[in-house]
């Protein structure tokens, strides 16, 4: 079925457009809006929809969607987890956190649990170096991680 935004999100779409001098500038915020409305991924239907709404070529929108790492081109799990792997977190034991997550969920980085609950990925520097190791869960940060605190977060996600 072709993708379309709900009436409520159409209002948000119009508000986003009002911030910029042209339609193209709304491309990234609108892709975010559509991704959220589409189970957190940007399908070809979504890029075509955005292209039509913003009067851009489908190739332009697809080019943008594939450039940025936070636009999912495949449907992720219900919850998305990113564990920071860059130097400051690595110095504070992110490697242990990464292998702990993999073991706990029985999947490798980049994969989704078989029940579709959690997609597990590494992230490059999350700007949380002073509170390392850190991870992002959906839109929230969790910092100063220990295996125990990670378990508490993951348990909650798995139960949801």
């Amino acid at each position: 079925m072709a993708f379309a935004l709900s009436d409520e999100r159409i209002k948000e779409f119009a508000e986003i457009l009002s911030r910029y001098p042209n339609k193209m500038a709304a491309c990234i915020p609108v892709l975010h809006l559509c991704q959220e409305a589409n189970d957190n991924w940007v399908s070809d239907e979504v890029t075509e929809y955005v292209a039509e709404k913003l009067e851009l070529s489908a190739a332009h929108v697809k080019g943008v969607a594939t450039f940025y790492s936070l636009f999912n081109r495949e449907k992720p799990g219900k919850h998305q987890v990113w564990v920071c792997r860059t130097l400051s977190c690595a110095l504070r034991g992110s490697e242990g956190i990464i292998s702990h997550c993999e073991k706990r969920l029985g999947i490798k980085m980049g994969d989704t649990t078989p029940d579709g609950k959690i997609t597990l990925r590494t992230a490059e520097c999350l700007a949380a170096c002073g509170t390392a190791p850190a991870m992002q869960v959906n839109k929230e940060y969790h910092e100063n991680l220990t295996p125990e605190s990670v378990d508490a977060v993951l348990d909650k996600l798995l139960a949801d």
Partner: protein, 447 residues
């Protein structure tokens, strides 16, 4: 040690410290009132006197940058805030946006007024959801008070601020990539010239400033430019005022500290940072984000030029952290957020970690960077696996040298600089991997 200050950080950690009420109780929104009484040209001149060196990493003088904007014409001017904080080791701007967003909003109003801009975009990386939320809330609060909109503080000078979001790309911290991203394109850097002041966002005159640079501007107008500059121990080098210092890695008290410009690495690590974890010896320190070279703790510096004579023969840890002092010492101040490594760290693995980052984040536009960063990572991976050769170690040096200076933006240099610094300072560790096998190495990064 230099005195600690709290111009930006006084409300950090306080309940509701990020609200307009808390900001005003601490003296907020006084600087902008003074600035709006002056002419835009006088605001630029006052900012020049403050000698704020750009806090995003390049260290360019803020007032000077503002003065490059053309005179107001029928073309709209834009102020764009670089809040795409993502340089490994850097985490200071996030604290401002989350805990003191009104300082940034006030700085944006002053900046817009000084440069003839009526619209300001704050480009925040997507991951920082709390920062975006706090900034939007601050904008709404300021609007409701009449501080933003058609007549801020009663002055007929319209200012509107919008938060724009990225979507996960380190390169968008490069100002022209950021502008492309703001325009709804792939975040690939543009050739300069034209510089943003001539042709920036939407082809119009634009200035891109870092979050912290703008957030400290209100303080300049409260204290006066000259008085602000003199807070710094490097006032005589035109590196003025106070700034945020970050310290992460193997220190007892990692975090963001506000202090006068001119603090030394030794003070940052041992006084503010509480010293190295478990009181271990230092292996090395990266002064300001991962794109800066790594330094040994006993490195002696020799900075050419009369102005720097006082620092010659001193240890790098005892040189005041300033844009010109560190540049002169063959280093880089960057974002002034140090990464500290104790002797528990295997420097070969540390470099592998960083090379993965640069390979992952290269935008792919310029061949030397796109291919070179991949190549650098592959060579380090081979060495870590115990399969590297001495010829490949030399080749690694050659690749990094060839990336330097041959790309559109500074990303390539930012990848090559740590690559070259690590193999220069820790060459023996790399050779040990090659000659004695990977099994003989500690192979750890954390304690």
């Amino acid at each position: 040690m230099l005195k600690r200050t709290d111009y930006l950080t006084k409300n950090y950690g306080k309940p509701d410290g990020w609200t307009l009420a808390a900001y005003e109780a601490g003296g907020g929104y006084r600087g902008v009132r003074k600035a709006l009484m002056m002419s835009p040209g006088a605001v630029v001149e006052e900012t020049k006197k403050a000698h704020i060196r750009g806090r995003g990493g390049a260290g360019f003088d803020c007032g000077m940058k503002w003065s490059f904007m053309p005179k107001p014409s029928d073309k709209p001017h834009y102020l764009v805030v670089n809040a795409d904080e993502g340089e490994p080791g850097t985490f200071k701007d996030r604290t401002i946006m989350e805990q003191n967003p009104h300082a940034l909003i006030e700085g944006c109003i002053i900046g817009c007024y000084a440069m003839g801009a009526h619209t300001c975009y704050i480009y925040v990386r997507d991951e920082l959801h709390l920062s975006k939320e706090r900034l939007w809330a601050a904008i709404e609060e300021a609007k409701a008070k009449g501080y933003l909109g058609q007549r801020p503080f009663g002055k007929t000078y319209e200012v509107n601020i919008f938060v724009h979001t990225g979507a996960g790309a380190y390169i968008c911290g490069e100002e022209t990539a950021l502008l492309n991203s703001l325009e709804g394109k792939r975040g690939q850097p543009r050739l300069k010239p034209p510089f943003p002041a001539q042709s920036g966002a939407f082809g119009m005159p634009t200035t891109v400033n870092n979050v912290e640079t703008l957030a400290i501007v209100p303080t300049v107008f409260q204290l006066g430019g000259d008085a602000f500059s003199k807070l710094s121990a490097l006032h005589h080098l035109n590196d003025g005022g106070t700034r945020l210092f970050g310290v992460s890695g193997h220190v007892k008290k990692p975090g963001v500290y506000e202090c006068a410009v001119g603090l030394t690495l030794r003070e940052l690590i041992f006084d503010l940072g509480g010293g190295v974890l478990d009181d271990r010896p230092l292996l090395g320190v990266v002064p300001g984000g991962s794109s800066c070279p790594v330094h040994l703790p006993d490195e002696i510096v020799n900075i050419p030029g009369e102005r720097f004579e006082a620092y010659n023969g001193k240890c790098i840890l005892d040189i005041p952290l300033g844009v010109d002092t560190f540049r002169g010492a063959g280093s880089m101040l960057g974002t002034c957020c140090a990464i500290v490594m104790s002797d528990a760290v295997d420097p070969v693995l540390a470099l592998q970690n960083l090379m993965h980052f640069y390979r992952d984040e290269s935008c792919g536009q310029c061949t030397p960077c796109r291919e070179g960063c991949g190549w650098l990572e592959r060579v380090v991976n081979k060495i870590v696996a115990g399969e590297g050769t001495m010829a490949e170690l030399d080749q690694f040096h050659e690749i990094a040298t060839n990336i330097t200076g041959s790309t559109i933006c500074a990303f390539g240099d930012g990848a090559a600089q740590p690559a070259l610094a690590f193999i220069r300072r820790y060459r023996k560790n790399f050779e040990d991997y090659i000659n004695n096998g990977a099994a003989t190495q500690t192979r750890s990064l954390s304690l």
